[in-house]
């Protein structure tokens, strides 16, 4: 299944991250370096787990730093 960066951005909006925040995100920069915080990161992780039926380990979640990382992981 090919999951694109746009799919991930769309998922973030569905999870309730503000559209204006999502629009400003760069795909290749760690989310934590773009103003997302300790609440936003688990919101995204929870949305990924729910939508794609995957169970992320905390180790995986640590490695998935950027939108591109998430898209590549979900495309596997």
């Amino acid at each position: 299944m090919a999951v694109t960066a746009n799919d991930v951005l769309e998922l973030m909006k569905e999870a309730g991250i503000k559209a204006s925040v999502v629009a400003s995100l760069k795909n290749d920069v760690p989310l934590l370096s773009q103003g997302m915080d300790s609440l936003d990161i688990p919101i995204v992780a929870a949305a990924v787990e729910a939508k794609y039926g995957v169970k992320l380990s905390s180790a995986q979640s640590s490695q998935l730093k950027t939108i591109n990382d998430l898209a590549a992981f979900l495309s596997k």
Binding site: K13, E14, A15, G16, I17, K18, A19, P30, L32, S33, D37, S38, L39, I41, P42, I43, A45, A46, A47, E49, A50, L56, S57, S58, A59, Q60, S61, S62, K65
Partner: protein, 495 residues
């Protein structure tokens, strides 16, 4: 006549006045304060309290960010025999007012801009500016007070725990409790020495942060790196690179966030020890940290009522997934609902006994009777299993859970959500997200309401206007109805 004991301000600071007076006790940014300065300004604050006519035994509330001033006020109170009450400077105004009234604080020491400062009249308020201006103010007071000589049963200081669904509870501790934790955790478990430089992401008003940044390092003549606010992962990396600490204390969420932003292990090169407490440390975080830094995280368990760690994995003897073994000087029992001990391998409530258990809750005889049991046992309210001397945390006996090392009271989140017009019914519970417990909200929507990203964002904003951020649900699950018993009680376990 009750026996006297040694004042912990003297016990922690005075030996250094001869041994290492000019050594940096405290480090904040580019500034340092020596042990001599710390002792000097603490004495001056004690003089200030005496000048104001504040009597031994009275309470003084401290709502300050971690700063030099916070130490001067804390130790100054102890030297004057006054009981310092350390309170989160970010406490909500309602809880701040409650704590001031409950503790009957005769004085509030805080920054002028603090919300709670507006709750007291000028005669009970000591607004202080930054460290330099506070020191200038203290310079007008004498630096020679005779330290108050406490009795063994005198309260030394008080912390407030936000543990339950109700109001915060005052947790008093005695002078000798500090000596006990310093010996058992500081010297034996952490093996702290004067050569250590410590940095804790947890703050002084939190029992874990209080031990990390105050009692453990100062007892041994180590240096403490301070950060006034709540540090994010990038702040932590900057501090590690700049101050090169040898001992690092954090909570699991922060270890996890650090793993996300770290490029390599170089910021951690100076560390000899990493400690985690406040909530369960996932085995995966332990393993990943070890592979990246070569350091085992020492996982521990303690609470405000025990003052510091009661269970921990000693360095080099880690059992990932376990909270550890008993810290020296502690005894434990695991009991069933009838209070009878259960066999090894069976779960039950953990009772603890040690030389640092709070004797009672301030003004709360009901909670004291439930928690501080006969024979000096503390009912922790936590469910544990013990196997081969290792203790495994199973959760809270009631529905509370921890996120970011801070309690989430589902009832408070539910109350907040229920005031949103889109919510008809809801229940909040801790569920794992990427292996870490987080608040989830199960919502029965009001008629005609459809789930959308915009609505979820709005509901989170609605909660975060009323409650701390760690209580905001990370996931919303919309359902047609909630599972209930025949008497209408929600069955959380079926969600």
């Amino acid at each position: 006549m009750p026996a006297i004991t040694i004042n912990i301000a003297q016990q922690l600071l005075q030996p250094h006045i001869e041994a290492r007076p000019e050594k940096a006790a405290l480090i904040l940014g580019d500034e340092t304060r020596s042990y001599r300065q710390l002792w000097d300004y603490s004495q001056r604050f004690a003089s200030l309290l005496q000048t104001k006519g504040i009597e031994p035994g009275a309470r003084v509330a401290i709502l300050l960010p971690d700063s030099f001033a916070c130490y001067y006020v804390f130790f100054g109170c102890l030297l004057a025999g006054v009981v310092p009450v350390l309170v989160n400077p970010g406490v909500s105004r309602g809880d701040g007012e409650f704590i001031l009234n409950d503790s009957q604080a005769v004085l509030l020491v805080t920054r002028p801009e603090n919300e709670t400062a507006t709750s007291v009249d000028a005669s009970r308020l000591l607004p202080i500016g930054d460290d330099a201006s506070f020191e200038a103010m203290l310079a007008a007071h004498a630096a020679s007070v005779a330290p108050h000589v406490p009795h063994e049963s005198d309260i030394a200081f008080m912390l407030y725990t936000s543990g339950s669904t109700g109001k915060p509870k005052g947790v008093p501790h005695l002078h000798q409790h500090v000596a006990f934790t310093v010996e058992t955790s500081g010297r034996q478990l952490l093996q702290m020495t004067e050569h250590d430089v410590v940095f804790s992401t947890s703050k002084l008003f939190f029992a874990y942060g209080f031990g990390n940044s105050l009692t453990m390092p100062l007892a041994t003549g180590a240096s403490v790196v301070l950060f006034p606010g709540r540090p994010g992962p990038e702040d932590i990396l900057r501090i590690l690179e700049r101050h090169r600490p040898s001992v690092f204390f954090a909570v699991p969420t922060q270890y996890n966030l650090l793993l996300k932003v770290m490029e390599d292990a170089s910021p951690f090169a100076s560390l000899r020890m990493c400690i985690s407490a406040g909530e369960g440390l996932p085995a995966s975080v332990f393993a990943e940290w070890l592979s990246l830094t070569g350091l085992e995280i020492i996982n521990g368990y303690g609470m405000s009522e025990t003052l510091y760690l009661a269970i921990a994995n000693p360095d080099g003897a880690q059992m990932p997934g376990s909270s550890g073994t008993l810290v020296p000087g502690h005894e434990a029992r695991i009991v069933n609902d009838q209070g009878q001990s259960v066999p090894s391998g069976e779960s039950g409530r953990l009772l603890l006994r040690s030389g640092s258990i709070a004797p009672f809750y301030w003004n709360r005889p009901d909670k004291t009777a439930e928690t501080m049991l006969d024979g000096g046992w503390l009912d922790t309210g936590d469910i544990f299993i013990e196997r081969d001397g290792h203790y495994y945390h199973q959760g809270r006996a009631n529905d509370l859970f921890k996120v970011d090392a801070q309690w989430v009271a589902p009832a408070l989140v539910e109350n907040a959500l229920r005031t949103h017009p889109a919510v008809r019914e809801c229940v909040v519970a801790g569920r794992p997200v990427a292996d870490m417990l987080r608040p989830w909200a199960f919502i029965v929507p009001a008629d005609g309401i459809k789930q959308s990203g915009e609505l979820l964002g709005e509901m989170r904003d609605h909660v975060s206007r009323q409650l701390p951020r760690h209580m905001v649900p990370v996931r919303f699950v919309f359902v047609h109805e909630l599972p209930k018993t025949s008497t209408g009680k929600i069955q959380r376990f079926r969600l």
